[in-house]
Subunit: 153 residues, 2 copies
């Protein structure tokens, strides 16, 4: 098993960061504009990515497995790229220095540390910068306006 983990600090109360990672409108503001579905516990969220021509480039489904207000969100991936199915995406929030909320982001349980995981690791880092931008300034950079990092996306 292999894991992606990232740590970022966001200058805002945990409640605001939590809203951005636990609601459909929140996630649509930093990851992918086309976030749909049910964000309540047990519900399924749909994260859809489109190419420039409007065609669907990728779609992931995440079952909301844990919700601890102000503290933790966990999604279990139930559909999407084969490498993603069965993995867990987590956001753990805590109080850091300088009035920052610390987010420990995890995308855990990859079967292999393959090249696609390296792509996703880099891509997640840029989406976490987008999350920070959303919470701190009100405007993130979700797909399809996301920062392209390589020849895959």
């Amino acid at each position: 098993m292999a894991d992606i983990i990232h740590r970022i600090g966001i200058k805002a109360p945990a409640s605001r960061v939590y809203k951005a990672v636990s609601t459909v409108a929140g996630v649509a503001g930093w990851w992918t504009k086309e976030t749909l579905g049910e964000s309540t516990k047990g519900g399924t969220l749909i994260f859809r990515f489109r190419a420039d021509d409007g065609s669907i480039m990728g779609e992931m489904h995440g079952r909301v497995a844990e919700l601890k207000p102000g503290k933790r969100v966990r999604w279990r991936v139930t559909d999407g790229p084969p490498e993603w199915i069965g993995t867990d995406i987590t956001f753990d929030l805590s109080k850091g220095g300088g009035g920052k909320t610390i987010v420990i982001f995890g995308h855990r349980g990859w079967k292999k540390p393959a090249e696609f995981m390296a792509h996703c690791s880099m891509k997640w880092a840029t989406f976490l910068l987008s999350l920070r931008q959303l919470v701190e300034t009100g405007k993130g950079r979700p797909a399809p306006r996301d920062l392209k990092i390589d020849d895959w996306n």
Copy 2:
């Protein structure tokens, strides 16, 4: 053991990317301005980081363990934060789509996937964006002008 791996594409020939990751002047242009030492095989590179007041905040030593022109650089960390000692930092270059050189970056062999590793993973991602910026535009964002990502740095 736990690994950090990231994938990034840089619109430039592999020779230019290789120069940026295998020479003192190259690394000083995207990771830390204060990069010193010997970049030949078996030599030791010193990567020094200073706080705003000029004091040394951190310093890592890497022995140049592999050098394959245009293809691979590997440093074995011999000094620095305890978690870093004995780990390997690698840059594997290959030809990607759209005239891009693909860099698979690795920082492998962490004893534990602890919070400090999550910090370094996020930080490495921003330094790889700095590397891309350096190679594509001539100007990276090395420490101490690096993007701060949390309450640690």
